[in-house]
């Protein structure tokens, strides 16, 4: 029987069989694609090592959750849902598209299994998928082209507008959906015209719509459209494939790898060099990232993978307050650098220093390492490690802002950034009349070490936090002591500001002091200390944050809390998540539950809370850095608390308290709002 319509495998144009194109287009495109990918691999091959093949089970879990289930996408509901539709559409239609390519050569080709009932399910599913993708793409294009959400904007910091690229790709996808549906619709329309049982086209799909449109068209028209649709699909499909590695849509290919290799642990910084132990650090010629080839291969993969979605920048506190940093532009600039220095055609060129060329010093020092960008990125791109490595490079070159040099030198000489005398580290205990705090020296022992850290030890305001925490430990019946002058700064920020060797020295000193004290556990009220002791020191007893101690003591009945005071009863409390307690250590509930243990307290949450908490401005050395910014992060945060209807901001970090109290003053909200540390609040309510 004569076929209703000649297939692309059997058709000819001016005597030339189109099957030639069906073969030629994929062969040329796949060769070109392989060439481009080989070129793109060059900077990855030349990059530094990165250990990312461990813990495969967790990595596969990440693939299932973050890549396949698109876990982070609905955090931005509209864009997220559109992406999920397009993503699953791609997955579903990849089979159909491949089938189509082969059908152009071998007319009757069907993937094994799809000629059974599975095929009936699949073809119906893909019809709806194509239709859904088509509409998602139209909405996305309207959003991108007309409504232009703010987070896609390009600024002076990165003046290369990529909107055209987004729109072009949306056009490619729409063209694929339309051509695929049209190809099939022509066939079904011809079947109807011939009066034979037509193939099933799911109702209300693109194909179904085109079929209804075409059913009265001439046979020749259907035949031509059938062929045109096929080759439109074929050409767009392979153009799109080769276009992917040229820009932000590279993520279509790289995302699965990037998510597999993404960081598994939080709260830590990668070693100076993978494969070089801490004892061997002195032998290294250079520290940190100075030139592009100093990045690890995962860094380069990150740069390739950035989809320019702006979620990181939208959540970045530095970007929000107008500091010269946007995580998204870090990736884009670094990708542009790779593309221009490792071009598709021509010689590879090794460039010079990155700082001053594509990154500015202020850009790199602006980061508070709060981790909001990494928490948000749906592709598992990392920033903190890169920022720290760039800082390591600058520190190695002596290129450190003057404002940070003094505190760093004081840390080296006195073990605290303020340059205060070691012997005054325990001075906060002098005014503490109701509690005796043991100093664990000269044979004095205790079960628990209260690690105070520099800010809480020396800062006039924060000493009251130390005193409150001591009262809590005492009330909870815990046998505790402090290290006194033997304690040095925990070093969380020393490491994050790139002064690795100073961190190593201070870590070794503290580790020895803690081990010598013979304590069985460590408690701290400073999340930065908590983070670094827990995640970056080794050989220490378990570390707890004071909020865990509070909650345990209240639950076990060791501490009883009085109800809200007359003064507190009309006030609304809000808890601000410190980055190093929340995002970096996932401790969101303990502090909240601790507050809620106070009978009668009214507590709300800010819109940006828990893993979306907004950094107060950073701790440790960040307090000394003088950034260029439009507004302080602390001020911004205080305004968020005000919007939530709060009068009292409770936090659980001395740096947050410093920044928020400053923020209240700068915002002119003194008298209307106040800030208090969790420890202070609880200590006030302990029934003796």
């Amino acid at each position: 029987m004569e076929p209703l319509l000649q297939s692309p495998a059997a058709f000819d144009v001016f005597g030339i069989p189109t099957v030639i194109f069906s073969v030629l287009i994929p062969v040329v495109a796949v060769a070109l694609f392989a060439y481009i990918i080989a070129k793109r691999l060059a900077p990855i091959v030349k990059a530094r090592p990165d250990y990312r093949f461990d813990r495969p089970v967790e990595r596969v879990k990440n693939i299932l959750k973050i890549w396949l289930a698109q876990w982070r996408h609905p955090r931005y509901m509209m864009a997220g849902v559109l992406h999920i539709i397009i993503f699953f559409g791609f997955l579903i239609l990849s089979v159909r598209s491949t089938e189509l390519v082969i059908k152009g050569i071998s007319e009757g080709f069907v993937f094994p299994g799809l000629n059974t009932f599975l095929g009936d399910i699949y073809y119906t599913l893909k019809d709806y998928a194509a239709t859904a993708v088509f509409f998602a793409v139209v909405i996305a294009a309207v959003r991108r082209g007309i409504f232009k959400p703010e987070r896609y904007q390009y600024t002076e910091a990165y003046p290369h507008d990529h909107t055209w690229e987004a729109l072009l790709v949306l056009f490619f996808i729409a063209a694929l959906m339309v051509s695929e549906s049209l190809f099939e619709a022509c066939h079904v329309a011809a079947q109807i015209q011939a009066g034979i049982q037509p193939d099933f086209l799911a109702p209300a799909t693109l194909g179904w719509f085109f079929k209804n449109l075409l059913v009265d068209e001439s046979h020749a028209m259907l035949q031509n459209l059938h062929i045109i649709a096929y080759y439109t699909h074929d050409i767009v499909f392979f153009t799109f494939l080769c276009f992917l590695p040229l820009g932000k849509h590279f993520h279509v290919i790289t995302s699965i790898f990037n998510v597999f290799f993404m960081r598994l642990d939080k709260g830590n910084i990668r070693p100076v060099r993978y494969g070089v132990s801490e004892d061997q650090l002195d032998d290294l010629e250079s520290f940190g990232v100075k030139k592009y080839e100093d990045f690890t291969w995962k860094d380069v993969l990150d740069f390739y993978t950035c989809a320019d979605c702006g979620r990181c920048a939208d959540n970045c506190p530095a970007n929000t307050v107008g500091r010269p940093l946007s995580p998204r532009f870090i990736s884009l600039k670094a990708r542009d650098y790779a593309f221009s220095h490792y071009p598709l055609m021509g010689e590879f060129v090794s460039g010079g220093a990155l700082i001053g060329d594509i990154f500015s010093e202020d850009e790199i020092w602006s980061c508070t390492t709060c981790g909001a960008c990494e928490e948000e990125c749906p592709l598992g791109i990392e920033y903190i490690n890169k920022i720290v490595d760039l800082r390591r490079g600058m520190v190695d070159e002596g290129n450190v802002p003057q404002s940070l040099q003094k505190p760093l030198q004081s840390l080296e000489k006195r073990g605290n950034p303020y340059g205060m005398m070691e012997k005054k580290r325990a001075d906060w205990t002098k005014e503490l009349e109701d509690v005796e705090v043991k100093v664990l020296e000269k044979g004095e022992t205790a079960e628990t070490l209260y690690f105070v850290d520099s800010c809480t030890s020396y800062d006039d305001r924060m000493q009251s936090v130390a005193q409150a925490n001591a009262r809590i430990l005492c009330a909870a019946g815990i046998d505790f002591g402090i290290l006194g002058k033997a304690e040095k700064d925990s070093g969380n920020e020393i490491r994050r500001f790139g002064e690795e060797m100073l961190f190593q020295d201070i870590k070794a000193h503290n580790t020895e002091a803690i081990q010598n004290s013979g304590v069985k556990r460590i408690v701290t009220g400073d999340p930065h200390a908590y983070n670094v002791l827990k995640n970056e020191y080794t050989g220490l007893p378990p570390v707890e944050h004071i909020s865990q101690v509070i909650l345990q003591a209240v639950k076990s009945g060791k501490i009883k809390l009085s109800g809200v005071t007359e003064e507190e009863k009309d006030k609304v409390f809000v808890y601000h998540d410190p980055c190093y307690l929340g995002r970096h250590n996932k401790m969101y509930e303990e502090p909240r539950s601790s507050i809620d243990c106070i009978p009668g307290i009214r507590r709300v949450d800010m819109l940006r809370s828990r893993d979306r908490s907004f950094c107060c401005g950073g701790g440790g050395l960040m307090l000394f850095y003088e950034p260029t910014e439009d507004e302080r992060m602390g001020v911004r945060r205080v305004k968020m608390a005000q919007q939530a209807g709060a009068h009292v901001i409770v936090t659980a970090c001395p740096f947050c308290l410093t920044n928020i109290e400053d923020g209240i003053k700068v915002a002119g909200l003194e008298g209307k709002m106040e800030a208090i540390d969790l420890g202070e609040l609880i200590a006030k309510h302990i029934i003796k």
Partner: protein, 262 residues
């Protein structure tokens, strides 16, 4: 260009609480931490930048005991090629002229085109640079805040009271005392110090320098410290007390009363 930078180890005022000892003739030196005199860091940075531009080498020298070696290492970690520790028991108690004599002797043993000092030291009298220039019979400029190397000469800028700027041309060799703000001294990390930890630093005493010890030490000092104390809080200074609002209110009141606010 061969540059010698004279540096000094001083108790860091930012990192110490300076208290007078019980005899009242010096400060309490237990628990003190020392560092390079701040001005000297600027002088060394400037020397390194000059050598980076025109070639040559930077030598840092200090007069002091074994402990002063630490400041030389720190400056070498910044990028100075050579260190020179001028040490001798006979140097103990030297006054400004004594120190200038010792450094002058060291300069004469070398072949330096330019000698830099800090404008002053935290615990000093801003006198050594000028004295050295006189002893060496070379030009001297103090409080220098820009240096431009020209053909065999230097074009230098000096800060003048009131924020004005003087520009001069100076023949080399010469001595310049360097003001802070001339540059941004680079950071010296632990890693940098460790890199130079094992570099040999030559030591020279009175005999090496060919100077008569009796002319430079404590006995020869014609300027002697006779007292040391924290001045009493003067009259006329009043600490405003109360809440922030109250303090501001009082301040505004005072300013209005004295004609500072109209």
């Amino acid at each position: 260009m061969e540059i010698l930078v004279c540096v000094k180890r001083v108790p860091d005022t930012a990192e110490n609480e300076i208290e007078i000892n019980s005899e009242g003739n010096d400060i309490e030196r237990d628990d003190l931490v020392y560092s390079v005199n701040e001005w000297d860091n600027y002088a060394v940075e400037e020397a390194i930048q000059i050598v980076d531009k025109v070639g040559g080498s930077v030598t840092v020298a200090t007069v002091g005991d074994e402990e002063s070696e630490e400041v030389l290492r720190r400056e070498m970690a910044m990028g100075a090629q050579n260190g020179l520790l001028l040490t001798d028991d006979a140097f103990e108690g030297a006054d400004g002229k004594g120190i200038a004599s010792i450094l002058t002797a060291a300069v004469k043993k070398g072949n330096y085109d330019l000698i830099l000092t800090g404008a002053q030291a935290d615990d000093g009298a801003a006198e050594v640079g000028g004295m050295m220039a006189a002893m060496l019979d070379v030009p001297y400029a103090s409080l220098v805040n820009t240096i431009e190397v020209q053909d065999g000469k230097l074009k230098i800028g000096r800060e003048v009271e009131g924020g004005n700027q003087d520009m001069y041309e100076v023949e080399m060799p010469c001595v310049l005392s360097i003001q802070t703000g001339i540059n941004e001294p680079r950071y010296v990390g632990i890693r940098g110090i460790r890199k130079v930890a094992s570099v040999e630093i030559p030591e020279q005493g009175a005999s090496d320098l060919g100077i008569d010890a009796s002319n430079v030490g404590g006995d020869a000092a014609k300027v002697k410290r006779i007292d040391y104390f924290v001045p009493e809080m003067g009259e006329g200074a009043e600490m405003l007390e109360g809440s922030t609002e109250e303090i501001i209110e009082k301040l505004v009141e005072y300013l209005k009363a004295k004609g500072g606010l109209k």
